[in-house]
């Protein structure tokens, strides 16, 4: 276990190189967020006090929470790096050493998220502070704990899905298109653009059969108290199920990929 601890330490140091990049990215992404908030404010001003059960405060809280969960869990560079590792033949060294590539990558993902979160705290925190009047409190400590647990599962699911997609580099010369296609689905079906329960009921139910809502929407809706009781436990179980499933898919794809791997460059 000690060796992975070292990986995390080195990973953290490496990520520090990108701190300005991360800071800039976090800060700039707040501009479209601000635009979305203004857009909703204008919509609410023109009409009835709630949209599909959301008050204006709840709607704005939703977007603020999405930003927080996204900062904590979204995969930033990992998928590109994994694909590049495969294409450039860098993974050869992992095949020779007693290091598991998946575990190694999780360590780097964690250290990357640590630095990204630390750097984002200033701009994102400042933004949240400005909109603190809109923040809705979670319905209780228990629910806050559950949504935290769900955020953790979200992070793992994000990672395993991206990891699997990046492994397609074993077979394809160019995986960026595939990554962007997956990202598009995640963007709309994960709840980045709008809360999924403002969709027509049938469509929302259909989306719930896919892993996408568990990449972002689910932990936020737990925090907002929209899923409770038995539904909450079932949701968490399904989310954990997706995590386990994608863990095994990732392992399986890796095992298949290694067989076709030809160590280009090396």
């Amino acid at each position: 276990m000690k060796k992975y601890w070292h990986v995390m330490k080195i990973g953290t140091e490496n990520m520090l190189v990108y701190r300005f990049n991360f800071f800039f990215r976090a800060a700039v992404s707040l501009v479209p967020l601000l635009a979305t908030i203004y857009l909703w404010q204008t919509i609410y001003r023109g009409q009835k006090p709630d949209v599909a059960g959301y008050s204006l405060a709840a709607m704005i809280s939703y977007y603020l929470l999405v930003t927080i969960v996204d900062t904590l869990t979204a995969v930033n560079e990992d998928d590109w790096q994994i694909a590049a590792d495969i294409k450039d033949g860098n993974i050869s060294q992992f095949l020779l050493k007693p290091i598991d590539y998946l575990t190694y990558r999780i360590c780097l993902f964690l250290s990357g998220k640590l630095i990204f979160t630390a750097v984002s705290i200033v701009p994102v925190g400042l933004f949240m502070f400005c909109f603190r009047h809109y923040f809705v409190a979670p319905p209780g400590w228990g629910m806050a704990g559950c949504s935290l647990l769900s955020v953790l599962l979200t992070g793992l699911l994000q990672f395993f899905m991206s990891y699997t997609m990046a492994l397609l580099a074993f077979w394809l010369l160019e995986v960026s298109t595939i990554i962007f296609i997956l990202f598009a689905f995640e963007y709309i079906a994960g709840g980045h653009l709008f809360p999924l329960n403002i969709l027509p009921a049938g469509l929302a139910a259909a989306l719930n059969c896919t892993p996408f809502p568990y990449l972002l929407y689910f932990p936020v809706s737990v925090y907002l108290g929209q899923v409770r009781g038995a539904e909450l436990w079932r949701g968490l179980a399904i989310q954990a199920g997706w995590v386990v499933l994608f863990y095994f898919v990732a392992r399986w794809v890796w095992a298949r990929g290694i067989r076709t791997y030809t160590a280009v460059g090396g």
Partner: protein, 274 residues
């Protein structure tokens, strides 16, 4: 050296000739990765569809944003996509590659060529997918116009495209300005991609905004003019002559600024390779 002192029409013809060659090169390049070309089209179609569905979902719950109705906003999303895609077809890759040219010292070579360097850097590569996407965006604009029962006059249509061209000039000038930051710091690539976030604002109706935010994105970074103004010319032709003038003036100002910054930056350039 006679070539350099050629008259303006001669210069123009020469640059067109060069551009023709660049274009041929780009087509050859794109066609050697056909499946990748098609996959990128899929990616762009998906993201365009995603923006359209975002607006459609919002309008399930309201019938106006400010004074904009559903099909007016969808037309705006289409026009914004059209402008962005044409910009992308001609300029985007070239702008993002500037920092790489500087980092590797390849810029030396371009500075030595007997042709305007900015011209060469800005138009080196053409992204053909952008034209396909722009066509799909125009189709959405036309369909939205039909839904709105608009029958624009020829003058309106010409005006629309002129204003779109001004919008493209704004995107290009600002992106080139940001790319030129690479002369001062190696971290410019991130800054260039940051500009991408601002495209998100261009496709939102200006009536949703007010106060500082609105003023900033009209007079400082004119994102709220780029697509809003051409669309307004089609949907409320008599309302916004001042805004049209503003967009044209802002595009000229942005271009002038980027040219000044470019000249100052090139003067500072001291090759990376030596």
């Amino acid at each position: 050296m006679k070539l350099l002192r050629a008259t303006f029409p001669g210069q123009l013809r020469r640059h067109l000739g060069i551009y023709h060659a660049l274009w041929r090169n780009s087509v050859a390049r794109e066609m050697s990765f056909k499946s990748n070309f098609l996959l990128w089209l899929v990616v762009e179609f998906l993201w365009f569809g995603l923006q359209l569905s975002f607006i459609s979902v919002i309008y399930l719950h309201t019938d106006h944003i400010g004074d904009w109705t559903k099909w007016q906003v969808l037309m705006l999303v289409g026009a914004s996509h059209f402008i962005q895609q044409i910009f992308q077809a001609f300029f985007l890759t070239n702008c993002t590659q500037l920092s790489e040219l500087i980092r590797t010292g390849k810029l030396d070579f371009m500075l030595l060529l007997p042709v305007n360097t900015r011209f060469l850097i800005s138009l080196r590569q053409v992204d053909l997918g952008g034209f396909v996407n722009a066509a799909s965006a125009l189709a959405v604009v036309a369909y939205a116009a039909r839904q709105l029962h608009l029958v624009p006059s020829v003058m309106q249509i010409i005006g629309f495209f002129i204003l779109c061209a001004a919008g493209i000039a704004v995107h290009y000038s600002l992106m080139f300005l940001l790319a030129s930051v690479a002369f001062w710091t190696v971290r410019a690539q991130g800054i260039v991609w940051g500009y991408y976030n601002l495209f998100n604002i261009a496709r939102l109706p200006d009536a949703a905004f007010h106060g500082f935010f609105k003023a900033f994105f009209r007079f400082a970074i004119p994102m709220l003019l780029v697509a809003n103004v051409p669309v307004k010319l089609l949907i409320r032709p008599l309302e916004s002559p001042l805004e049209m003038a503003l967009l044209v003036v802002m595009s000229a100002v942005c271009f002038a600024l980027s040219e000044v910054f470019w000249r100052v930056s090139v003067k500072r350039y001291t090759s990376a390779s030596a």
